[in-house]
């Protein structure tokens, strides 16, 4: 698809893919309910009394939360079996808003916690939702190993190119030349290309979207949750407060327009080609979709062998 035209396509389905339409029976009930009470159709999935959330005006995290909640419903899984695990950061706060089993762990450690949770109860559908710093700096080692093991889970990484929560410091994703609180002369380190790292580490499903691609993101979440194995979705999101304003990228809405105009969707490309610069065009799409035996299934086979008395 050509630059800029994609989002148009996303929005203008002429109503043919309204977010409400394909939900399961229980959700339809909630819908009827909210029509009568004026409640938001996602209110039943938000913890009572927790909205408004802490995120700034124009931040993309609320969009990610909305997309995740729509996606997980669309995946058609038993919501009682869903568990959300987050690390620490603005993104890490997502777990605390979702009215399902949710775990807000320590900085960088969502993945090993999620690994334990999933392996202890393989019935659970585990989603890890955390920030770029959390998953790729302090938690980088856990990420590559979780991907390598192919533990069945979804990892939704919100990349806002900085450490939002601590006030906008340089991150392993900060584009070269970008100014942050700890790169006052511009970032001189080479950033990670997250889908490339995830794919190289063994993730079986790898995609990247911006928060403006909300519809694609919903689809992608639903698809990735159903996909057995380690799925990784990067969501490019703005941090107007700590990253975009200081870098003259503007307010939240300006970044949304940037995503509208400067996104190139290239499904199936080698994620190696999806590097990101400071306000350069962003390549989005589903890059990897393959199958590979999951850790859980391999482990089960090994146990059968162990019980057969083989050493």
């Amino acid at each position: 698809m050509t630059e800029g035209h994609d989002e148009h396509d996303l929005q203008h389905h002429n109503g043919s893919s309204s977010v409400h339409r394909d939900r399961s029976g229980t959700v339809a009930l909630h819908e009827r309910h909210h029509r009568e009470t004026g409640e938001h159709p996602l209110d039943h999935l938000l913890r009572p009394g927790r909205i408004p959330h802490i995120w700034c005006t124009g931040c993309g995290l609320g969009v990610v939360l909305t997309a995740y909640l729509n996606g997980i419903q669309k995946a058609g899984v038993d919501l009682d079996k869903v568990a959300i695990v987050s690390g620490i950061g603005c993104t890490g706060r997502i777990a605390g808003y979702i009215n399902l089993d949710s775990f807000h762990t320590t900085h960088g450690r969502a993945l090993p916690f999620a690994t334990g949770l999933k392996l202890a109860n393989p019935e659970l559908k585990v989603s890890v939702i955390s920030g770029d710093g959390d998953l790729f700096a302090i938690g980088g080692n856990h990420l590559i190993h979780a991907a390598r093991r192919n533990v069945d889970m979804l990892v939704l990484c919100v990349n806002n190119f900085n450490y939002g929560m601590t006030g906008g410091q340089v991150a392993p994703t900060t584009p070269v030349t970008a100014r942050t609180q700890t790169s006052p002369y511009g970032c001189w380190e080479h950033p990670f290309n997250l889908p490339y790292v995830a794919a190289a580490s063994g993730a079986v499903y790898v995609a990247r979207w911006t928060v403006l691609h909300a519809r694609r993101l919903v689809e992608s979440v639903a698809e990735a949750v159903r996909h057995p194995g380690f799925s990784f979705i990067e969501v490019i999101s703005q941090c107007p407060t700590n990253f975009d304003r200081p870098n003259k990228g503007g307010e939240g809405i300006d970044l949304m327009h940037f995503y509208e105009k400067k996104t190139v969707v290239k499904n199936g490309i080698d994620p190696k080609e999806a590097d990101i610069g400071l306000y350069t065009p962003i390549v989005c799409g589903k890059f990897v979709d393959q199958s590979k035996p999951t850790y859980d299934s391999c482990y089960t086979n090994m146990c059968t062998m162990a019980r057969g008395g083989k050493k």
């Binding site: 913890r47 009572p48 009394g49 927790r50 009682d80 079996k81 568990a83 695990v85 777990a95 605390g96 009215n99 399902l100 089993d101 949710s102 775990f103 807000h104 762990t105 320590t106 960088g108 450690r109 993945l111 090993p112 916690f113 999620a114 690994t115 334990g116 949770l117 999933k118 392996l119 202890a120 109860n121 019935e123 659970l124 080692n141 856990h142 190993h145 482990y299 090994m302 146990c303 062998m305 162990a306 019980r307």
Partner: protein, 385 residues
């Protein structure tokens, strides 16, 4: 999930680390996550062989940070879980030991202590992590730590650690050392029916809108639901209220941290365990634990032969510290002798409780070998004099 046949009842000639693994299995542990480190690795090796045979999960993680987090996750998944480590690995676990305390997650950490600081003495014993166990994670909390001094106690105390962790909802530590971990002795594993197990209390109500995952019972311990049971709970390492919601205020902090400490303090009589030997009428009491408790025996016998009235208070639980007992003894004896394989750690607790009523004499040793019993004997004689 666990069957009686999973418990290897009978008499065995095994080392302490293996006995610890068997104690865990007998307690119902079915999840182990760890990272190899001398001198604790045999625990992981044993678990990697045993757990797949009995429907459990063994996973070697990428480091000890991950191991600690994985066992917390597994515990919320409804499975009793443990890790084992030594020295540097224990340091790496401290951050998420705190997460376990704050989120009230039952689990067990076995630390087979070796000499430090840093990489120190990978293959040789020390007892230098006992204060780290108490204070190693940031913030205020009360902890439970047991100190086995034989392979049999490695079995018994690991099993008990699980019961305590399920009962009081926190990660419980077993502080062993290289010598006890690698010592091979007779270990008697009782028949499965004879083993008393405590499993976490479950919420009495089915899932509902107003469910309060952190509302404590009279013993200050909240019942615990597992993930996937429909309770839709929120669990956070942030200061939180009974709903599990993060609340960043002094009032919420006071309420939560007070309770987390009080649930141990209020129940400390149920938790604390000591073994006393000839303390009645003693003029000197040797306060010791783990391998040093055994080294002390030779010195104690020699002193007794020389006419000194000396007994032993062996600390089976280091934390909570048996304050009342030490205070009571302090009023009766001439002094305490505290041999430890460190430069002085538990001795400060003894001294604090003695509160000047009697002498407290440390017998320090930085580790690498046991004390020379002659040094302990000299200290006993000095205090008795």
């Amino acid at each position: 999930m666990s069957r009686a046949s999973d418990v290897l009842s009978g008499e065995h000639f095994i080392n302490g680390n293996t006995a610890s693994a068997e104690g865990a299995i007998a307690a119902g542990c079915r999840f182990f996550a760890g990272y190899p480190i001398t001198p604790s690795t045999e625990v992981a090796e044993r678990m990697s062989r045993r757990l797949p045979q009995i429907g459990g999960t063994f996973i070697q993680m990428e480091d000890e940070l991950a191991s600690m987090c994985a066992i917390l996750g597994a515990s919320w998944g409804g499975v009793k879980s443990m890790t084992a480590t030594s020295g540097p690995g224990f340091s790496l676990m401290m951050e998420n030991f705190g997460l376990g305390v704050m989120t009230e997650t039952p689990s067990v950490i076995v630390n087979v202590m070796r000499g430090g600081p840093s990489t120190g003495l990978p293959t040789l014993a020390a007892q230098a992590d006992v204060m780290q166990a108490r204070w190693g994670t940031h913030g205020s909390c009360d902890v439970i730590a047991l100190a086995p001094s034989s392979p049999q106690e490695m079995f018994d105390f690991t099993l008990r650690a699980f019961n305590l962790s399920e009962r009081y909802r926190l990660p419980v530590m077993v502080l062993s050392d290289e010598i006890v971990g690698h010592m091979t002795e007779k270990v008697v594993i009782p028949p499965a029916e004879g083993i008393e197990l405590f499993d976490r209390r479950k919420p009495s109500e089915p899932p509902s809108e107003g469910y309060l995952p952190f509302e404590p019972g009279p013993d200050l311990v909240p019942p615990m639901a597992n993930a996937g049971e429909g309770y839709h709970m929120h669990v956070t390492g942030l200061t939180h209220d009974e709903r599990g919601y993060p609340i960043i205020t002094a009032a919420a902090q006071t309420k939560l941290v007070r309770r987390l400490c009080e649930k141990i303090r209020q129940n400390s009589r149920d938790i604390i365990a000591c073994t006393e030997m000839e303390t009645d009428g003693a003029e000197v009491v040797v306060v010791s634990y783990g391998i040093s408790a055994r080294t002390s025996w030779k010195a104690i016998r020699a002193a007794q032969r020389g006419g000194v009235k000396v007994g032993q208070l062996k600390l089976d639980t280091l934390w909570p510290f048996p304050e009342e007992r030490v205070r009571a003894l302090a009023g009766k004896v001439r002094g305490f002798v505290v041999p430890e394989l460190n430069m002085g750690q538990m001795v400060y607790e003894v001294e604090r409780c003695a509160a000047g009523q009697c002498r407290t004499r440390l017998v320090p040793h930085p580790g690498g070998e046991t004390h020379d019993p002659a040094d302990i004997l000299a200290a006993i004689r000095e205090v008795a004099a």
